[in-house]
């Protein structure tokens, strides 16, 4: 069973990289936001605060794990898992480098569909956490999560449809290949700027990160859906959020920034992984920069933005793209 063995090994490496990435993304975020606010950030645990995630993790492991007396126990325990697992398996279809060596299952021909589907599952975790905690703040957070994610999933899916139209394939490996006519202008961010903008905004809303973090709006809902969670269960939610941040950045890179493409990838295939990582890192920094800049958006405006602006614009974008492809305009279609 060499295929199974290979897939298992790749998954193990991917999981290791993702979990390490999650740990250091928390440090990166805290340090970068601190610099953006003229502060220093964590610098006490180890050199430059590099052992901070270890300290945080140890602290969370030794915290008491509290379960509310009236909680719906099975769902209460299931919810954090439902948040983390979709975030992790999202990576299965993302080509992180050139050639099958660096790809797990990126050649499946419904990759884009899989991405939309798996991202949709993650909201169950948040909604169930809010429901099962038997806490008013958690319930309100969960309610907001379901409304918000359903509204923004439309725009997200439609922006991906435009990309799929451009590549004439829903396989993520093909989408990357379609962005390589030899120069940087082949990237879909230049050929599909509207779809890229919509994807960026809706993905941020899917992640429920600032400025769309109404799900856990501290000032109104204490901690929203995770109010009743502590210890490692809280850590799982935290992990889910950050792994999803990495996953969404990887998706943006794959859909709009040419994936692993870059100079000299044909000579040195390993270089493609570096390009991919650099692009993902740039997306992550952009996300953190956004969080440091924008205040939280009001709830009715969040809904208005999703339904009245992003969804119609995304539909129009799909129609225009389809028309341009049918008319055979240069740069559209393959």
């Amino acid at each position: 069973m060499p295929v199974l063995l290979e897939a298992t090994l790749k998954s193990a490496v991917l999981l290791f990289v993702l979990l390490t990435g999650f740990a250091y993304l928390t440090v990166l975020e805290r340090k970068f936001i601190a610099r953006l606010q003229a502060r220093i950030g964590p610098n006490r645990a180890g050199p430059f605060g590099l052992l901070q995630p270890v300290a945080d993790g140890l602290k969370l492991i030794f915290k008491e794990s509290v379960t509310p007396a009236q909680a719906d126990k099975p769902l209460y325990f299931l919810a954090p898992v439902l948040v983390v697992v979709p975030a992790l398996i999202l990576f299965a279809v993302i080509p992180v480098g050139k050639g099958p060596t660096f790809q797990l299952a990126s050649d499946i021909n419904v990759g884009a569909l899989y991405v939309v589907g798996v991202m949709g599952v993650a909201v169950y975790g948040i909604t169930l956490a809010g429901w099962a905690s038997n806490n008013k703040y958690a319930a309100l957070g969960g309610l907001r999560a379901s409304a918000q994610v359903i509204s923004y999933e439309l725009g997200l899916g439609l922006s991906i449809v435009a990309v799929v139209l451009m590549a004439s394939s829903a396989s993520l490996a093909d989408i990357v290949e379609a962005q390589m006519p030899g120069n940087i202008l082949g990237w879909f961010i230049f050929r599909q700027p509207v779809a890229a903008a919509i994807f960026a905004v809706t993905a941020m809303a899917e992640l429920a990160r600032a400025p769309f973090d109404l799900v856990e709006a501290e000032q109104e809902l204490t901690a929203g859906f995770m109010t009743e969670y502590s210890g490692m269960k809280f850590a799982l939610f935290f992990m889910g959020e950050y792994v999803k941040m990495i996953a969404v950045s990887a998706l943006f890179t794959t859909f709009f920034l040419g994936g692993w493409s870059g100079p000299f990838v044909n000579e040195f295939p390993a270089l493609s992984v570096v390009y991919f990582a650099v692009k993902v890192l740039a997306c992550l920094l952009l996300m953190i920069w956004t969080r440091a800049t924008l205040p939280r958006i009001r709830y009715d405006r969040l809904m208005a933005l999703g339904w009245k602006v992003l969804t119609p614009v995304a539909i129009a974008n799909v129609i225009v793209t389809a028309l341009l492809i049918v008319l055979g305009v240069p740069g559209f279609g393959s």
């Binding site: 601190a34 953006l36 003229a38 502060r39 220093i40 920069w289 440091a292 800049t293 405006r301």
Partner: protein
Amino acid sequence: MGLKDVLTRLPVGFWTVLKTLGRRPVTIQYPEQQKPMSARFRGRHQLKRYEDGLERCIGCALCAAACPADAIYVEAAENTNEARYSPGERYAKVYEINMLRCIFCGYCEDACPTNAIVLEPIEFPTGYTRESMIYTKAMLLEPPPPGAPDTPQQTPPGKYDRAILPFPPIDESV
């Protein structure tokens, strides 16, 4: 917020935040770096001495009476000319301040007839246990001035009969 605002004002905001990257952090890394403090800052208590090394505290416990947080405990004992700690009849054998109760109001300073207890801008009380936050006399007492002997001292009879005045005079101008 219309499209015009998104295109004009959002970039300004993003740029403002990014510009901060070039600024020096305003953080003061506390234990290593410290802000200069006012000379009158009411920090930790210190028990003062006279120039000849004798303790100012005479164990009258007026500070304990004045303390609104009930943080001070004083136990007095008799001075003798063979083992003298302070001028006058008595000295503080036990002097404890519970730093967890103290609210640093400075009423003990006001109550003290000999200016023995002073809140100084030095070393803020910190600790891991409740016990370690009870500061004893040994921790509160300042070291004897240079050249002066520590207490208890052997003193000639009759020289230190009075606890407060006329010897040594207290400089009230400070």
